[in-house]
Each structure stands twice: as C-alpha cells, then as structure tokens.
Amino acid sequence: MDFAVVINNVGFLIFQGFLGLGNFTGGTLRLAVPAIIFGFILGIFIGMGRLARSRWIYLPATLYVEFFRGVPLVMVIFWFWFIIPVVVGKSLPEYSVALAAFVIFEAAYFGEIVRAGIQSVPRGQAEAATATGLTRAQTMRHVILPQALRNMIPSLVTQCIVLLKDTSLASIIGYVDLTKAAQIVNNREIRPFELYLFIAVIYWLCSYGMSRYARHIERRLAVNPA
C-alpha cells in the first residue's frame, strides 16, 4: 500500500473533487450545499402544499411527491441532461443540470419530512393560535413551523447525508465530484485501494460531522420540551 498517490493528488481530489474550487466545474460540496438549501426551501412549499385544504394545491403537491419518489435519481439526472437542451434550445453546463435535478428530486423527500414535521405538532397549538386571532399564515410562521422544524431535525439530517453521498451520481453526465475525481486519478495511477479508501474517509467524516452537529442542535433545542 502506498498512500503517496493520495498525497500527490490531494490538491485535485480535495479542492477540485470535494470542494469544487479550480478551473473546471465540479465539486461534491459545491453541488450538495446549494442542493440541500434550495431542495429544502422547495420542500417546505411542497410539504405545506400536501396539507393544504384546496385540492388545487394538495393534488399537484401529492402528485409531485409520488412521482419523484417513484423514479430513480440517476434517471432524473439523465432526463434533465437530454431534455433541457431540447426545451431550452441550448445545452446547459453539467453543474446547472445536476443542481436542477437534485433540487427537484430531493424536494419531494424534503417535502415529506416537512409534512410529517408539521403534522407532529399537536392540533391544540394551532387552535390556541387561531383562537387568539392569528391568521393561518401567522399561525404557521410563529407557532407551527418553529416546533415542526425541531421535530424534523433527525430526518432532515439523514436526508442531507443521503443527498451528499448521492452527488456522486452526477458523474454520469461528466460532473467531476469527489468520486469522479478519484476515478480520474485512478485511471492514471492504478491505485484503486488507496484512492477509494481515502474518499470513503472523506465522505464518512462529512456524514459523521453532520450527525454530530445535528445532535448538538437537538440537545440545545430540547432544553424546553413541550
């Protein structure tokens, strides 16, 4: 075993493959972080839509969730890769296509987490807020969502970890993420064991870091349980 291959290529693997800094586009975090942020924001609307009274809102929201949960992510990435050029008339860079696919796909999962979180807040909370004259939007914003968010943390973290690792699927359209970067180095150096062990450690550290951080937030918020 010779980890010199990792040390010699650490700049490419970390800066290019993992962080996404450098000349050509790529990067696991550069894709995962905005995908989590925008996917979650879209997911909040999907999740609330699933609970809406009007069927014109909840039916499309439900359809959205059921559809994207029922198809593989790789397939969604492929679609976007082949369909966007047809619709828009020009091809978009790998990064935009991958980000769009992740946001839209993950929003279905985030939406379900948001829905479950909102439903986990006891009905009496909304009733108390309504009884003091708060509108539905105010009740949601000041009373329900803050409590729902706290209950969502464990599932949210799991989903973020899954998303982070799934970014490696973007390599099928040529996006250079950490896995793809390792593959590129390996094609030249033929040191699969060292390289793939190294990236495994990076993925694991990220995931473990996220779950530790989540536990920290949960504990901080749990000071005043219901």
């Binding site: 006891p122 009496g124 909370q125 009733e127 108390a128 807020a129 309504t130 009884a131 003091t132 004259g133 708060l134 509108t135 105010q138 000041h142 009373v143 803050p146 409590q147 706290r150 000071v223 005043n224 349980p225 219901a226």
Partner: protein, 242 residues
C-alpha cells in the same frame, strides 16, 4: 352577548348538537356541564368558530357568524379561549406566549404588549415567571399563563373548555380563584367544567347537556337543589356522591 338559534351540528353522521337554543347576556357567567360526549366542548368551540355549524345561527356581540361580511379573526380577538390542555407554545417564554397575538394581530408595539403582559401575570399571581418556558411551570401555573394569554387581547367574552380537568387536585383552586376574580370583574364567561363547587359559587346559570341537547338550565341553587330531569338527577347523583 352570545345567542344560539336552532343550532345543529354534525361530525360526519354523528349529530353532536341538536337544536340548541341558548342566550348568554353581557356579564353573565354560565357553566355548562354534562357527561362526556354530550357536546359541551363543541358548543363553546362554535362560539369562536373553531367549529362550524351546519344549520341554525349563532350571534356573538350583535354579529351573526353566518354573515358574509363576518371576519373570524376580528371575532376571535373579542372572544378569549382557555383549553383543557393549556396549549401554551413550548418554544416561547411565558412573556412571548402572551405578547404574540397582541403584537401580530392588534399591531401593538413590543414594549406596550410586554407592559400589558406583565400586568396580567401579576393579576393571575405569577409575576416572577415572565422569562420562564412553559415546561418549567406547574400545570396550574401553565393554565394561569393561558388565561393571561387570552386576556391580553382584551376580550369581551371568555370561553373555558374544562380548564381544570388536566390539573392535579392541589392546583385546581389556584386556577378557579383566577376565574372567580374574572367573573367578579364582570367578564362574560361560558365555562365547561365538572367543578360543581365553582358552578355553585360563581355561576349565574347552569346549563346541563346530554347527547347534544340542552336538557335543563337554571340558577345554580335550583339546578343543584332540585334538578328537574331524571337525566340531570342521575348525573348529579353520580358526581356529587363523593
């Protein structure tokens, strides 16, 4: 102040309120009692439109709840409600629980709302708990905060839905005392409760319900002294025997 005219309500196929006619005047304290499932809670939840009715009419403070121009949010600022399970917001301090609606609904400045909140906490006997989270309060204290939260909107009517049913026995009195004070200050109150001592001492009128109907109503001394209907006699016999 509150008037029910031939009100009917169903939950699906379950007929929960049957032909309810009831009038509550300003300053009056009405206790609603009866066996569980008799529709007492549903009755008062109709007053602030937490429940809607299928037929009949409810008039609150001169306004019909069926009026197309009717604004539920405006109604709810005039009608305060206290729940069996307190329903305080666990993620907010006592002070924030009380100031939320006045600042968001009435647009009161934060400082002004806090001043009102502190006066109310003083009134319900827990002035030192403003910065505390609900989880760190006893049940009786939580319910008193809930009363203060409802009063912060300066309502004309207060509805109480079994306010002491979830409390340990030694905490019931502290809540009843606050309610008694409120009644003596002239608040219009409709109280669903099993506290017959409170009904006897404070209520102007007792309404007895069973199976969605008002079976009997009258002054507390008449109702407790000589209930007319067999159903009320049976009910009182059961709850007053120990």
């Amino acid at each position: 102040m509150i008037e029910f005219r031939d009100v009917d309500k169903w939950f699906g196929s379950l007929h929960v309120l049957k032909r309810i006619n009831l009038k509550v005047s300003g300053g009056e304290v009405v206790v609603v009692c009866g066996p569980s499932g008799s529709g007492k809670s549903t009755l008062i939840r109709c007053v602030n439109r937490l429940e809607s009715i299928q037929s009949g009419e409810i008039i609150v403070d001169g306004q019909s709840l069926l009026d197309p121009k009717f604004d539920p949010s405006k109604l709810r600022t005039d009608v305060g409600m206290v729940f069996q399970s307190f329903n305080l917001y666990p993620h907010m301090t006592v002070l924030q629980n009380i100031t939320l609606a006045p600042t968001k609904v009435k647009g009161l400045a934060a400082g002004e709302a806090e001043k009102v909140a502190k006066e109310l906490l003083d009134r319900v006997g827990i002035p030192d708990k403003a910065g505390v989270y609900p989880a760190n309060l006893s049940g009786g204290q939580q319910q008193r905060v809930a009363i203060a939260r409802a009063l912060a909107m300066k309502p004309k009517i207060m509805l109480f839905d079994e306010p002491t049913s979830a409390l340990d026995p030694e905490m019931i009195n502290e809540v009843l005392e606050v309610m008694t004070d409120l009644a003596h200050d002239g608040m219009t109150m409709v109280v669903v409760t099993h506290e017959m001592g409170f009904a006897r001492r404070v209520a102007h009128r007792v309404v007895f319900m069973d199976e969605g109907q008002i079976i009997e109503e009258g002054k507390p001394e008449t109702f407790f002294g000589a209930p007319q209907s067999p159903r009320a006699q049976q009910f009182l016999g059961k709850i007053l025997s120990h």
